[in-house]
């Protein structure tokens, strides 16, 4: 065989074997994660959908009943109350988190020492667990010796039993949640404010624009994308309200503060009606996805966004 032909045969083989070895390595690199992903996330997702079509209990009894769990959900007054409560809670918390978060970001967007300390203060509650936050806030809200009750008493006013009042329980949980979660929206808005090109502010100064004018015509339009991100993140997070309600009110009084996830917990892990709970969690998944997508597309379709 002439040497030139030999080289021509050998070169593609080396390329081929390098590609094969890269493919083998690639699969080995991703395999450990993919196995965990398939077993602990993908399988339970589909097995959950299948469960929602069965009448299933703790002891493994299971019978296919089609969409009966879903039709039962939409006739279940308690479930419908939990959907209403959760939507109300999202309306109470998400706009407040966005407005306060933006306000704090505007006020604390400077290099001063005072701003750094206050940023730390407003983010510190975010690293606490829900059980510590509820422990603090149950003590703040309790009518007998709570911080707010003591302040009201000092002012000569009536003590208010926030958590046992059907109209006040959910708003009280919302205030607790805003206190707990305000750090993230503030940080996201701060990061966005730092991205605004400084020459835009130069131009505003040359135009003698005031603080509010500058805010409305330069700052807010520049951070619109972040506002959408914050809204979507917070809608998804707050729809999953669970720990605060489970610990502070157990969903009471009379289901007035029962959110969807607590409904799922009670049905699935206290009454062990597993198929029914799986159907409720599938509905929650759809609601969250719809709300997030609606928000996302609404923001996209706006001119100039």
């Amino acid at each position: 065989v002439p040497p030139t032909t030999q080289a021509a045969v050998a070169a593609p083989r080396r390329v081929w074997s390098a590609a094969a070895s890269e493919a083998r390595s690639g699969l080995l690199f991703v395999a450990p994660y993919l196995i965990v992903f398939a077993v602990l996330l993908v399988y339970p997702l589909f097995s959950g959908i299948s469960l929602s079509l069965h009448k299933a209990d703790l002891f493994g009894g299971s019978q296919f009943i089609g969409i009966e769990n879903y039709t039962r959900l939409f006739r279940d007054a308690v479930f419908l109350t939990s959907v209403r409560n959760t939507c109300f809670f999202v309306l109470l918390t998400v706009p407040a988190l966005m407005l306060i978060g933006l306000g704090l970001a505007l006020a604390l967007n400077s290099n001063s020492r005072r701003s750094a300390i206050l940023r730390g203060l407003f983010f510190s509650s975010s690293v606490l667990s829900v059980t510590i936050v509820t422990l603090i806030w149950r003590m703040v809200l309790i009518p007998d010796g709570g911080l707010i009750a003591d302040l009201l008493a000092a002012a000569g006013l009536e003590r208010i039993p926030f958590l046992s009042d059907a109209h006040l329980a959910l708003p009280a949980i919302a205030v607790t949640t805003i206190w707990w979660c305000i750090g993230l929206p503030m940080m996201l808005f701060l990061a966005a404010l730092q991205q605004v090109p400084p020459d835009l502010y130069e131009a505003a100064t040359l135009d003698n624009a005031g603080w509010w004018r500058t805010l409305a015509s330069i700052t807010l339009p520049s951070i619109r994308r972040t506002a959408v991100v914050v809204a979507v993140i917070e809608i998804i997070l707050q729809f999953q309200l669970f720990g605060q309600a489970q610990i502070m009110t157990l969903g009471g009084p009379n289901n007035a503060s029962l959110p969807i996830v607590l409904f799922i917990y009670q049905i699935g892990f206290q009454r062990w009606d597993i198929g029914y709970a799986a159907a409720a969690s599938a509905v929650l998944f759809c609601i969250i996805l719809t709300a997030a997508m609606a928000q996302f597309f609404a923001a996209r379709s706006r001119p100039g966004a």
Partner: protein, 280 residues
């Protein structure tokens, strides 16, 4: 920062914003300070009225009682074991998979990556019931394995590491390959050390999220000796302010938040940078 930007950003220009900031700071700080004060009062004094929190005598008795109450230490240890195991597990799995997806060519790669990305949209609640049944069948409840495994499946780390590896220059590993180094050796010696900033960010957020997780440990760890700190603190407040006394409960709140506040203070810079990068 230019003068104009500084003038706009400096809050001193707006009195209304300053006043609102003062009110918000007070609302933010007072529950924390009040908790601290209550934790320093004897339970007997608080029974006579919580207003006494604002004046001495103060005592460390509640904290001494916690030190004698060994359950809290067991919870702390469980939280530490579970959080550290999940953090290192996620770092290992995400770095390997992130590198594989970002830098190596293999059949089905892009389709698999898209499937993993879809996993980001799956909320915990929609898998928890089936996962609970699976863990029951495998006898994993009330074990460390049962608390650790679900945390390893989160796709966020793979996404983050793949993004990071993709941004590094390709020449780095091509030189090593030409020298005959294996793919793993190249990853281990060259790419992994370069990814340290991303590892730190991912590690901190995984640690915080696992430490504070309430849903899964509540369902899986039903024996009190397997409680994590979050579940333990929840269990002790179920009969609120009756058995242990308000001072003791508040001391527990302060004590239980100390480890995570220390972690927060040490890594504050990275947390801020991580949030900023996520926003961009």
């Amino acid at each position: 920062m230019t003068m104009a930007a500084a003038r706009f950003q400096g809050s001193s220009r707006n009195g209304l914003l300053d006043a609102a900031l003062a009110v918000a700071s007070l609302a933010m700080a007072s529950p924390l300070l009040w908790t601290l004060l209550l934790s320093l009062k004897s339970n007997d004094a608080l029974l006579r009225g919580t207003q006494s929190a604002f004046s001495p005598p103060y005592t460390l008795q509640n904290y001494a009682d916690i030190l004698g109450h060994s359950a809290v230490f067991a919870w702390l240890l469980n939280s530490a074991i579970v959080s550290l195991a999940v953090t290192f597990g996620v770092l290992a799995l995400s770095s390997l998979a992130g590198y594989g997806f970002a830098r190596l060519r293999f059949p089905g790669r892009d389709a698999l990556f898209v499937i993993v990305l879809f996993g980001l949209a799956i909320p915990e609640q929609s898998v928890i019931i089936a996962r609970h049944q699976m863990f029951t069948a495998l006898h994993l409840h009330n074990t460390y394995g049962g608390l650790i495994l679900p945390g390893l499946a989160a796709p966020f780390g793979v996404f983050l590491m793949a993004q990071y590896f993709r941004a590094l220059p390709k020449e780095l590993e091509e030189a090593a390959w030409l020298d005959g180094a294996s793919h793993f050796k190249t990853f281990w010696r060259i790419l992994l050390p370069l990814s340290l900033p991303a590892q730190v960010t991912l590690g901190i957020f995984t640690f915080l999220a696992t430490w504070n997780d309430y849903w899964w440990p509540l369902i899986s760890a039903t024996n009190s000796d397997m409680y994590t700190l979050t579940v333990g603190v929840a269990s002790s407040q179920m009969n609120f302010a009756q058995t242990n006394g308000v001072g003791f409960l508040m001391a527990q709140a302060v004590f239980a938040s100390l480890p995570i506040l220390v972690v927060y203070m040490i890594f504050q810079r990275y947390i801020v940078a991580g949030v900023a990068r996520a926003a961009a």
